[in-house]
Symmetry: C2
Subunit: 243 residues, 2 copies
DNA sequence: TCCTTTATTGAGCTTGACTCGAAAATACCG
DNA sequence: CGGTATTTTCGAGTCAAGCTCAATAAAGGA
């Protein structure tokens, strides 16, 4: 009995180890050569198994890549949530900045994976799955935006999905742009300005305090009344002198 | 001589017609089935030529697709430039709005092509070409932004490429988002709010006038006149005392 | 009209994803 | 342990699709 249980356990572990080996090899080969450039035979060789074995774990090459991407995006989502959980600051814009910083850096560092994800957008049946990765990840942004609105730091009249799309899309494209035009050494240096600009852009338009930008009339009123008082004093002085 | 010239002409025309037929067929098949799903044999059949003939016009399937995309992006760039040329308004933000409107609509309508472009991002040698399409198109945005800065309507301290990336990226992702989550009937209706929000977002942060948000001069004018009056009273008082 | 040059063709070559029957490994049972 | 059933692994073989190329057709030129 005991031996049986142990055997089952080790057996399952063995299978899992093998599956992980396949996934690791696949990840490396896909990143190295892209989807079409990757040879299933090479993945098998690197995982030290027969080519046919892969097909008893995954239906097809495409599904194997999907598993790799799934793993990657799940990791991203967890990391993003961890960043949100770990940050001490309560303020919406501080949290937004932290998320932006994390996101931008991640997208740049993992550009390979992002491109792979795009590469899988063809076969219509797979598109939906590919979308789900993203949707799940973007949900982290949605959550933060909703909270910002609840706390009254994000304009109540802001359409959430629109704001989120602007924020997410701007960062994603900025990442692509940085990656495209800058050499690797400048990547890190370019990130902060981009994040800062995004945050101040959002503060300028979406910050709740900017809804009523009335130019502080109270101060003017106070000045005005002081002048009136002065004027009266003058008048009384004037009268006294003229007497 | 005359016949020779005519023959050459018709011959060239014939070749061009054939090339166009291939391109047309390829475009249709690529959009219908994506890059990997497209069969070269089907393209040949639709263009009414032998499969081998395609390879005397284009090196490979990938290059054929590149030609299709080239044509598409060139068209986009021309159209965008035409929009910019045709718009009467001189103001930067009005022009920006027109461009945004055009861009958003275009990206949604031609989502197939955009996805195809992404799909070709793998083979490293081709990436550069794929980038060039985009760069050329984005140049239209750059030009507008530069002009806005020259006219003093866009903050002088704005970093141009950053602002452009935010603008372009936000619109592109918004388009994807609209296309992803809305049904076709709502596409058009969703476009205007997104564009409007982008414009007011940019006005709020990048508008030059927001550098000095002078608050209601009338009040200041009133104060100033009061001071003038006071000053006069002083003068008259001064004169009387010195006498 | 005949020869040269160019264009077209589709049968076949090559490559790579995927199948499948057999063999090896493992589990189960007396 | 030995034998049998079940599961897992394997890689040679199949098939499909991009691409080549020798043969053929068309065009050009004298």
């Amino acid at each position: 009995m005991a031996t049986k249980a142990v055997n089952l356990e080790t057996q399952r572990a063995k299978l899992e180890r093998k599956e992980r080996a396949i996934l690791d090899a696949a990840r490396a080969v896909f990143i190295e050569h892209g989807f079409d450039g990757a040879r299933v035979s090479e993945i098998a060789r690197r995982a030290s198994i027969g080519e046919g074995t892969i097909y008893s774990y995954y239906e097809s090459k495409a599904e194997l890549m999907l598993a790799v991407l799934q793993q990657f995006w799940d990791g991203l989502t967890l990391e993003a949530e961890a960043v949100m959980a770990s940050i001490k600051a309560e303020g919406f814009f501080e949290r937004l900045q932290a998320l932006a910083q994390y996101h931008l850096n991640t997208v740049i560092v993992n550009a390979d994976f992002i491109n792979l994800t795009f590469a899988l957008r063809r076969n219509n049946s797979e598109v939906s799955v590919s979308r789900d990765h993203l949707r799940h990840y973007v949900a982290v942004f949605d959550q933060l935006f909703r909270r910002g609105q609840d706390r009254g730091e994000l304009r109540k009249d802001a359409v959430l999905w629109q704001a989120r799309d602007v924020f997410y899309g701007a960062l994603e494209y900025s990442a692509r742009s940085i990656e495209m035009t800058m050499d690797v050494n400048r990547h890190l240096r370019q990130q902060k300005p981009v994040v800062d600009q995004m945050i101040s852009l959002f503060q300028a338009h979406y910050g709740a305090q900017h809804q009523a930008p009335e130019p502080d009339n109270s101060a003017l009123d106070r000045l005005s009344s002081k002048l009136d008082q002065l004027s009266e004093k003058f008048d009384s002085l004037d009268k006294r002198l003229s007497r």
